[in-house]
Symmetry: C3
Subunit: 251 residues, 3 copies
């Protein structure tokens, strides 16, 4: 199985699908093609949350603001999964999740011998053929275009500061519902009735529908982190928070 | 085959795909993931219109404003189809369409023994594994987590009032083109040249392009109901109508 | 393999998927369902750019402003590919790309004997069943509903005028990134440092990230044509250009 994830508007993902189908009979499943445009950190977060639910697969990931520059293309082998991606950190958090802190291996991928490759669409001309080749190979080491390396660009999410009566963290992503996902671990709020956010008391609930429509709440999201939400509404608007904003939770 | 339908922004549907692929080799086909957010009635309408075109399949449906509350999860068996869904009525109109007024069977689904299940994402933690289990089982009755029940939340679309010279109905949904779909049966207008809508005469045509670009028309939609539309434009804007609005058609 | 391309909001493509799955076990891959609404020329452009990357397949294309009128439905056979589409020109540029200037064959498709077919949703009632039938047939000629014809509606993209010190062309499409795709061949700008667009000097670069975020550039897009873009921004806004606008590039 090959999964596809990108920030590409259609029909660009279809060109990748076509290239893959021309090279392999592997089943293709989409992860997402509407990751926030060229936001490597947001994509890294979502991949870490979603890819571990898949069975062993080759994941083709293209969120690539540096396309056409000298940034490398890599394959990260993590457990039984392989992630083909630009070397910008996007694949590292999920590799750690799948394989442990450093138990993953990295290969450089070089398709520069392909004279038909464009400068602006490596998703179609580099990552898609690489994913097909990696999927069909018995091992990455046997692929001529792949070379083992010890280095890749790292990406770590910021650590929250959890104290006796408060936690300071950051908004990692806002999902399509408008839920504000922080880096603060859920157990900080899990057993409380209310916490203060921005100085105001907000109820902690484990279901959106535990409150009236339009009410604000703090909850533990499906990723295990503290999330600010509104029952049938948008948490980002109601809390006035966006990606990268600092958050202070007090109790 | 397993179909997926939800109101989930990506990449949430991908987590469901991953869970399903981890449990079964079943082919997965998407129905939609952009049903109007938490609008059970709209989802019920579209499922009734679309699912009968599929061959026998397990349909995993998650439009679930009550996630995390005590609403049940159910499987509805209707003919050769099974629909896994929250017990909020969303699966009932299509079950009636597939199996007749009452010739469908309902099971409660209980995954509360799964300690890793979240409170906020039953699509991933309850409905996806249940759909995989239902798909692969020889019969629903053999699944330990499924218990036959006689009750489920019902959902019926309102009946129109069709008289000698007029029909009163309601807007059921507005599609992505802006076409306004009512509950008035198409044969009310099918043989007429014009009808009056909101007191104004509007032509009845069986093709959008039978009129000039931008012209309003009444037509019989692909679902068999009266629809208000604009050739290459949006009927909802042109007629000033939205979901739930009353409509009066006179002739 | 059957590919699907349309300008249909969901869940309409799912009804097509269901019909196809009811008739054939063929694998289905999506090309796009968000082509600019009823814009035959834009769809024709994208199909020409994307479909050749697929292995031999039956492509079901529905961008069909004339649905319900007397426009024909056709199958175009181009090399090992078949394209099922309304006869409005949408399939012709890709057929030329796949098979050469005139080395493709056209059949009329007639499903008017199907009394259940709607007037407004031929995607579901004509093109989907036709695609399934074409896919499963040993040859198109053996399908009773297909009749060889010598005529179909043509569609050609305008030719640019390339002179000694300037090129005049037209905007063919704007992609989802906001990149402005022209009909001017890329080799006109490929070896230059800058060109003038609308009288202003703009750098020519082969990677968006070769400039600062927000800077305008001219590049050769993945389709081989001149493209106006902004690094991590929208070229259409920054250049004030939309589909059909004339462009003048000077050097």
């Amino acid at each position: 199985m090959i999964t596809l994830a990108s920030d590409f508007p259609s029909p660009y993902p279809a060109a990748m699908r076509g290239v893959i189908c021309s090279r392999t009979d592997a089943r293709i499943e989409d992860v997402a093609h509407d990751f926030p445009r060229q936001d490597v950190r947001a994509a890294a977060f979502w991949l870490r949350e979603v890819l571990p639910y898949f069975p062993p697969a080759t994941h083709c990931v293209v969120v690539d603001p540096g396309v056409g520059t000298d940034r490398a293309a890599i394959v990260v082998e993590a457990g039984d999964h392989q992630i083909v991606a630009p070397d910008n950190g996007v694949a590292v958090p999920v590799a750690r999740e799948l394989a442990g802190e450093s138990d993953f291996a990295v290969w450089d991928v070089d398709y520069s011998d392909d004279e038909t490759a464009s400068n602006t669409f490596h998703g179609r001309d580099v990552f898609a053929p690489a994913a097909a080749d990696v999927h069909d190979a018995d091992s990455i080491g046997e692929i001529d275009r792949c070379t083992r390396t010890d280095e890749c660009v790292d990406l770590r999410f910021p650590d929250p500061e959890v104290g006796e009566s408060s936690a300071r963290g950051e908004v990692l992503v806002v999902d399509g519902f408008g839920n504000v996902v922080t880096n603060v671990p859920g157990d900080v709020v899990a057993d409380r009735e209310t916490v203060r956010v921005g100085g105001e008391s907000v109820p902690v609930r484990n279901a959106y529908a535990a409150l009236d429509v339009g009410d604000r709440l703090v909850t533990v999201g499906s990723h295990g982190n503290v999330e600010f939400a509104v029952n049938q509404g948008r948490g980002d608007d109601a809390f006035g928070l966006g990606v990268g904003d600092d958050v202070l939770i007090e109790w």
